[in-house]
């Protein structure tokens, strides 16, 4: 298990090597070095997973193991910040997901980013991101998680703003950083509350159950403090995972290079919020089960909202971004409707399973989109059409991914989504029906995208599109392969809410209805977009206002702009700025003036005469005596 330490350290070393030494390397060396480093890390992650799951259960459950532990800062006997590596089923699963997708992105970028300015910088940032993400998932305590959580945010910021000469990219990177940072404020307050009342940061101790009992007495506004803390922590998770209404940064984040979108904004970073909830799941169940219902509702609403918006977007990366938001909503719903242990814990298994399969097929979708954008030079669907003849590999792999996300058997998405739906039906029929409907919408907008890109009328082009180079198609094929077969992994054997083996069996009614619904949705998409047709335009006019609202993402961004620009900047900030300029700066200037004046006045004390020094010394001593004795 010592290999796990290397998984943690190597990406950091790669980052420093590429970051500091990058400018002395050629593009080729830097790219190959980064990819080679990540290959080693991936192998190590697989070895760790193999050893961890190979060792078998003890007492019927997968025991968490702390394979590395370091006390970093000790404040008091109780409160100390530690750094460590915790291996348990979900962290090991995340190790595999992150390293796999990251490796694919590294290889893919060799072709995609070829000749870009700042190629070495790009690879250095990719290493930094991988390091932070790995550190996040193996964290032994919530404070370490927070540190890496912020590091992930920073590397995401750096990568979104990679094309720093493009104003849109800069604006998007700032938006992503500020929105997630704002949510992280909730996370931080939650951590402080939680640690203050439980006296520990450590996950293992938090899960042990007695900490909640000891802190359950404290209440605030009718809820227990622990529940408040967990709620605030979820706000942090919702920010990173782009839950409504904190989702606004994710579509804009598509300004970054496409492989980055695949890695960070589809497969790994955005599921950090889901991972956070899963990590603290026993605590949620024990201290605040009502909060889980809230999480499920937020997830379901986000999922619906994003799916509707995705149906009308025309930029392919935006469609994928909204689809990501919608799918993360699915995972949140799964966790929210889940109970602890046995059949009640189905949602937990399903959420984690969907996280796993979604990471693979969504990365695949983004990488395909990258290949298309690479050759077409535009993100707009109208510039595409009829591409299946020119890009056969991309076409097939994209189709595989679309089938998977739509939930068509035997692709991986079918299995995980089906379990989520089953769990939702178990929770409440309404939730089940709603989620099934959203699954149908998913199939519709994905095939709308598919037909618009690969079928339909060809747009006028200056040069014929061509298939991407091998370095780009190889990752596509690999991910498509995984997407085809990942559904057959007996996932419940590895990950379940209480660590006990859970055998997944399909619920026939749910499976049939969801597949049927998906087929209908695909049929509609086929009718609408297979060939140029007037139907979509008719539909748009029929829905009128609703269509326009969806196109503008229901004006959420405008609402944010209104609040920040009109209310916060114009109203509140101006007053604060005045206060800062006149009162704070004034006080500072006053201090400076007084300091200078006093310094000038007392300079006589330092005369250079030893007699005077002795005099001051003696008088000073005597004055202190007088002060101490008589006062």
């Amino acid at each position: 298990m010592e290999s796990a330490v290397l998984i943690f350290v190597l990406p950091m070393l790669m980052f420093m090597l590429l970051g500091i030494g990058g400018k002395y390397m050629t593009h080729r060396t830097a790219g190959r070095l980064g990819t080679l480093g990540l290959t080693v890390i991936t192998v190590l992650a697989y070895v760790t997973a193999y050893r961890y799951f190979g060792a078998g259960r003890s007492g019927g459950v997968w025991l968490p193991q702390t394979v590395f532990h370091l006390e970093w800062l000790r404040f008091t006997e109780n409160l100390q910040i530690e750094l460590g590596i915790l291996l348990d089923p979900i962290s090991v699963m995340m190790l595999v997901v992150i390293t796999t997708v990251s490796l694919m992105v590294h290889i893919y970028s060799l072709g995609y980013m070829k000749g870009e300015r700042g190629f070495q910088r790009y690879y250095a940032f990719l290493s930094l991101f991988t390091f932070s993400m790995l550190g996040l998932v193996v964290a032994t305590n919530i404070f370490q998680m927070y540190i890496f959580w912020e590091l992930v945010g920073v590397s995401s910021y750096l990568l979104i703003g990679f094309y720093y000469t493009k104003p849109a990219a800069i604006a998007a990177s700032k938006k992503a950083f500020i929105v997630t940072r704002f949510a992280d404020l909730g996370f931080l307050i939650g951590i402080l509350l939680l640690s203050f009342y439980t006296q520990t940061f450590n996950f293992t101790e938090l899960m042990s159950g007695n900490v909640c009992a000891s802190a359950s007495g404290a209440t605030f506004l009718g809820g227990s403090v622990i529940a408040w803390a967990l709620g605030l922590i979820f706000v942090g998770g919702a920010g990173k995972s782009a839950m409504f209404p904190l989702h606004i940064w994710l579509p804009d984040a598509m300004e970054g290079p496409t492989p980055v979108s695949a890695l960070i904004h589809a497969a790994t970073m955005v599921v950090a919020g889901v991972y956070l909830v899963a990590r603290l799941f026993p605590l949620y169940i024990e201290a605040a089960p009502e909060l889980l219902v809230g999480i499920a509702i937020v997830g379901a609403f986000t999922s619906l909202y994003a799916a509707v918006v995705a149906c009308v977007q025309t930029d392919i990366k935006r469609v994928l971004a909204f689809s990501t938001i919608s799918q993360i909503g699915f995972m949140m719903v799964a966790l929210g409707v889940s109970g602890m242990g046995g059949h009640a814990g189905l949602g937990y298994v399903a959420g984690m399973f969907h996280l796993f399969t979604h990471a693979m097929f969504k990365a695949l979708l983004f990488l395909c989109a990258g290949a298309i954008i690479h050759t077409i030079g535009s993100n707009e669907m109208s510039a595409m059409g009829g591409l299946r003849k020119y890009m056969p590999v991309t076409h097939i792999t994209f189709l595989v991914a679309c089938l998977a996300i739509s939930g068509i058997p035997p692709f991986s998405g079918f299995f995980s989504k089906d379990e989520i739906l089953t769990a939702a039906f178990l929770f409440s029929p309404w939730m089940g029906v709603l989620m099934s409907g959203i699954a149908g919408l998913t199939a519709f907008y994905m095939f709308r995208l598919y037909y618009n890109i690969f079928w339909g009328a060809e747009a006028k082009r200056e040069h014929t599109p061509h298939e991407a180079p091998v370095s780009m198609t190889a990752p596509l094929l690999f991910l498509a392969f995984v997407t085809c077969f990942a559904g057959f992994i007996p996932f419940g054997n590895f990950v379940s809410s209480d660590g006990v083996e859970y055998t997944i069996h399909l619920d026939g009614k749910v499976a049939l209805s969801s597949v049927g619904l998906a087929c209908v949705a695909i049929g509609i998409a086929f009718r609408f977009y297979r060939q140029a047709s007037v139907l979509p335009a008719k539909m748009a006019t029929a829905f009128g206002g609703f269509y326009r609202a969806a196109l503008h993402r229901f004006y959420i961004d405008n609402l944010y702009l209104f609040i920040t620009k009109r209310i916060i900047f114009a109203g509140i900030s101006q007053g604060i700025a005045w206060f800062d300029r006149h009162v704070i700066d004034g006080a500072m200037n006053l201090t400076a003036t007084v300091t200078q004046k006093v310094a000038y006045c007392i300079r006589g004390l330092q005369s250079g005469q030893i007699q005077q020094y002795a005099f001051v010394f003696l008088i000073g001593t005597l004055l202190i005596v007088v002060w101490m004795v008589f006062l």
């Binding site: 970093w72 000790r74 310094a599 330092q606 030893i610 005596v625």
Partner: protein
């Protein structure tokens, strides 16, 4: 007497051995082999440091006059490291024609002051403490006046010895009064006899004044600026780091151990003195143009921060204090190393001379900048962590207002530390100090300081280890 007890004096014995070896080398080796003198000195000192890296166990000798414990040994090791760095930085200065003839003296004198500090730290009795103190101060005066043909250096030496004598006199008077009222000089037995009567309070203040001189607290600080300015730069850095660090540590030991019964009184006194010290030192520092004088006032204000650990009087305060001394050592020696080499190569010590230094000597400027950042307490450098811990220890004992005042002063200090950074990096200069190559000794010492500044904060094992040992206090 059981001679086995002498083994507890291992560190002192080995230091004396180093001293005698160097003295013999200086006396009897002539000709070519003399060139290796400095190397020998540094190597011997390094060996001495290394073999005592492992903290000593608890133990005492001479019937309790001499005591040793792990934390004491850690402090001695810190002093050793500082001395070693100063030895390396001093080479350039000592190789000049006017001083090369007597360079042996520098090492022997420095080591004998260090020996005095060892005894001071390990004393379990006021008698041994006073002997240690004097062993540390008398050779120090000789060191301050080392460039005795230079007016400044001679004057500084005279000022130092006169002030030291004055302070020692007062302190001795205080100690005799303590003896008179309690009937013993052993640290262990004194607390039983302390009842806080005015006579004892006066005795305590006299004793404290003597220590205040060493640490240069206001109002016992007036000698500092003149002596720092006049003394050779290597001696100044020795004074500001080693001498001060050991004195603060000893003061804390004595206050906590011996004067525990009047803890409220001395905490009140320290409260006032810390505020005075930090504020006045900062006020003076802002106006200084000569960098050595500037560093004198900076070191006075740093002494004020150090006293925050003393006022806490807890095990946490002790570990924060030792850690602060360690970090302060690296940061301050980084600054002094640069000042020293620049003074040697160009003869310039004024702030305006540093204008545009970055253009000509970028690496030195960066070392200087990072060391200054650490002194000012900017994260992520070690100085931030040391300030953080020492503030935390004082706040832990309830001195919130004091910590707030210290924080405000930190902002003031940031201003004047940044003045130097601004001079080096931003101010333009038509005739900046010419580019030069430093010798290898200086380089190694500066790299060591830089590593200390960068790594000490991040790698927390060091602080943890110190705090582990200090909990046994």
């Amino acid at each position: 007497m059981d001679f086995g007890n002498l083994l507890y004096l291992k560190e002192e014995i080995s230091l004396i051995l180093v001293m005698v070896l160097l003295l013999l080398f200086d006396l009897f080796c002539t000709g070519k082999i003399r060139r290796y003198f400095q190397l020998t000195a540094c190597v011997l000192m390094a060996v001495h440091t290394l073999i005592h890296l492992d903290p000593m166990p608890d133990g005492q000798a001479f019937g309790g006059m001499y005591i040793n414990s792990p934390i004491l040994s850690v402090v001695k090791t810190i002093l050793n490291v500082g001395t070693l760095i100063i030895f390396m930085q001093a080479r350039n200065w000592l190789s000049r024609e006017s001083t090369s003839i007597k360079r042996g003296e520098f090492y022997v004198l420095t080591l004998s002051t260090l020996l005095g500090m060892y005894f001071m730290i390990s004393s379990g009795n006021f008698l041994l403490f006073f002997i240690g103190l004097e062993t540390a101060s008398v050779p120090m005066a000789a060191l301050v006046a080392f460039d005795k043909y230079k007016h400044n250096s001679a004057e500084a030496g005279a000022k130092y010895i006169l002030s030291a004598v004055f302070a020692s006199g007062l302190m001795l008077y205080g100690i005799s009064l303590i003896y008179g009222t309690t009937g013993t000089l052993y640290f262990e037995d004194i607390p039983a006899g302390i009842d806080g009567c005015p006579l004892q309070i006066m005795a305590f203040v006299f004793f404290f004044a003597g220590m205040g001189f060493k640490i240069s607290l206001v109002p016992f600080h007036l000698w500092t600026a003149d002596v720092y300015e006049g003394a050779p730069t290597s001696v100044t850095s020795y004074l500001s780091v080693i001498s001060k660090g050991s004195a603060v540590f000893v003061l804390m030991m004595i206050l906590v151990k011996v004067f525990a019964p009047i803890v409220e009184q001395w905490q009140m006194m320290l409260y006032g003195l810390i505020v005075l010290t930090i504020s006045i030192a900062n006020l003076f520092a802002i106006r200084q143009q000569n960098l050595k004088r500037f560093m004198a006032f900076s070191s006075i204000s740093q002494a004020g921060y150090l006293m925050l650990g003393v006022i806490a009087g807890s095990a946490q305060g002790m570990s924060a204090l030792v850690y602060y001394v360690l970090v302060y050592l690296f940061s301050n020696l980084g600054v002094f190393g640069v000042i020293s080499i620049i003074e040697q190569r160009s003869g310039k010590v004024r702030m305006e001379d540093y204008n545009g230094l970055y253009r000509t000597n970028p690496r030195l400027s960066i070392v200087m900048m990072l060391s200054l950042f650490s002194l000012a307490g900017i994260p992520p450098f070690a100085g931030f962590f040391s300030k953080f811990f020492i503030f935390m220890s004082a706040a832990g004992e309830g001195f919130y207002l004091l910590v707030l005042l210290a924080l405000v002063n930190t902002i003031l200090s940031l201003y004047y530390y940044l003045l130097i950074v601004k001079a080096m990096f931003i101010n333009s200069n038509e005739s900046p100090i010419a580019t030069f190559r430093s010798d290898n000794y200086t380089r190694v010492s500066l790299i060591a300081c830089l590593l200390g500044v960068l790594a000490l904060g991040i790698f927390s094992m060091i602080y943890d280890r110190i705090s582990l040992l200090a909990f046994g206090l």
